[in-house]
């Protein structure tokens, strides 16, 4: 049984409870009074890119629309501007809830695979934990080639002038593509991260079981 079917079974017909218990800050969702100030204050133009504004997501959670919420790309579009948190009359930490739901959907393997924010987050994390330093050249290359080789070349050509400018200003080193700079104790960093993963895994497993 996958993690997803296990929790779906556990919280059958009570998605709000699932969100409350499993998602960071998820216990705040029930406090929403559907006034709409969060969405009205959101700088993201959700009409085209953002399917469901925050208060709609909260309503969908209450209505038990599990599949629609977890597979939605909406919470991935949050830019963390914090307008909603500042203005929410009930002081819901909306930005954090958005990130909490996104992370939960990702953990269950339900998040849209090629959603750009999600893709970039994964790419960034792998990139910087590998050597303990961010390799900006590899990071941007990875993003360019997200949608295939041909699109990657097109993206690269489009950004050519910017890249050349950066090279001239010595802000970009072409040699980074081959090895790249590292932190002093690469093994130490990785051991530390391994331990952190272990702790996180055991905590989340306990939450799922509990």
């Amino acid at each position: 049984m996958s993690a997803n079917t296990a929790v779906a079974e556990k919280y059958r017909n009570n998605f709000l409870k699932e969100i409350e218990e499993q998602v960071e800050m998820g216990d705040w969702v029930k406090m929403c009074m559907q006034c709409g100030v969060c969405s009205g204050s959101c700088p993201t133009n959700f009409q085209s890119a953002w399917e469901h504004p925050p208060q709609e997501l909260f309503m969908m959670i209450r209505a038990g629309k599990r599949e629609e919420v977890l597979t939605s790309s909406s919470m991935w579009n949050c830019t963390s501007c914090y307008n909603c948190i500042v203005r929410c009359p009930r002081k819901l930490p909306i930005t954090h809830i958005m990130h909490g739901i996104a992370e939960y959907a990702h953990r269950l393997g339900m998040a849209p695979k090629m959603q750009p924010t999600r893709f970039f987050s994964g790419l960034f994390w792998k990139n910087c934990t590998n050597t303990g330093r961010v390799n900006e050249l590899k990071l941007s290359m990875g993003l360019y080639f997200k949608d295939g080789f041909v699109q990657g070349i097109k993206n690269g050509m489009a950004m050519q002038a910017v890249a050349l400018g950066l090279v001239k200003a010595k802000r970009l080193n072409v040699m980074e593509l081959f090895s790249g700079h590292k932190c002093k104790d690469q093994k130490g960093i990785q051991a530390m991260l391994k331990k952190a993963y272990e702790i996180e895994r055991s905590r989340k497993a306990a939450k799922m079981a509990g």
Binding site: Q34, C35, G40, S41, P53, Q55, E56, C88, K91
Partner: protein, 427 residues
Amino acid sequence: MTEHVATNETILVVGGGISGMTAALEAAETGKNVVLVEKNPALGGRTSQLYRYFPKLCHPTCGLEINLRRLKGNPRVRLLTLAEVTGIEGDTGNYTATIKIHPRYVNENCTACGECERAVEMMVDDPFNYNLSQHKAAYLPNAMAYPQRYVLDPAIIGTADADRAKTACKYGAVDLDMQEETIQVKAGAVVWATGWQPYDAAKIQPYGYGRFKNVITSVEFERLADLQGPTGGRILRPSDGKEAKNIAFIQCAGSRDENHLRHCSRICCMASLKQTHYVREKYPEDGKSTIYYIDIRAIDRFEDFYQKVQADPSVSFIKSKVAKITEDEHGNPVCHGVDTEGYKRYTTPHDLVVLAVGMEPSVKGINIPGHIVADSSGFIEADPANGAVFGAGCASNALDVNRAVQSATAAALRAIQVVNKVAKAEA
């Protein structure tokens, strides 16, 4: 003025709005002596500044008139106007209040003939109209002011205008030498009925009150609709005097908001529903009201009032708290937000936006004896620790006129019980 004989059997009522007047009269009509203290030059408080009451849509003149008649016929109420309680000392059954009385510069010879008003030239802001207009510095506070007596604004004292007012008065009523006095009054019990103040709308930054002229508050809208108001009862917008026919009402402007007032102010939904009647009354052909709301709280028996407004085709309801107001090139306020029914963004211009501002207790920050227990919003709680200081009306909760009167009657009863005990102990 200073020779009031007050004893431990006297009830001190602080605030002369509808609650204070009610408490004072209920107590006086059972035979108790009452000292009624009012900060303004006339009684009536915020109720007298309304155009109409809900739900019957009658004019407050009517309800106040009944109370003023009761007051005029009752020698047991001693009224102090332009007076503020600056401190209370003592305990249940034995309080001493310090009262500061500001000079009116007009004595009881005044017949309200208005000669002084015609004689002076200086204009000052008119607080009765929430400073939307100005009046002469010698003025009658409002058309049905009680006491029906003129007031000189302190700003004209020492100017030629003051002398002009004095010369114009045929009755020797203008007394330019009046001084501020501080008196002490004894009382067995205190009814604290200082009412409410509209929440400072400028604090709700995204709504632009104070920055956009055509964003006003609900209390200011009452004055625009009133025949005695700054526009003579025509709903004109402040920026250009144009007739405002397409009006937006924004509910919960400050209320139910942890960043502003955490309580529901209870009256604002009914007030806005009532104000849609004003729009239809003034512009029966093409008046249009839009109510932006979270949920309409037309409590208990007011539900039918709400249903009637819903049936009115000139009123539309949008379930959304407006997120932001901007101004377009014609000076129209534009409401931005997301409609919770369908989750669609809207950007809607109106002629005028009325913010249904919440009720803030006016006890906040005022020096009443240190042990007063208030709730998290600053309203006075009914608590034994308060001794014989009883909150009444909007000093104790966000209430409409009807409920404020009930609350004041209850407070009067508590005060009567205290002074009865004092009387027995002394007998």
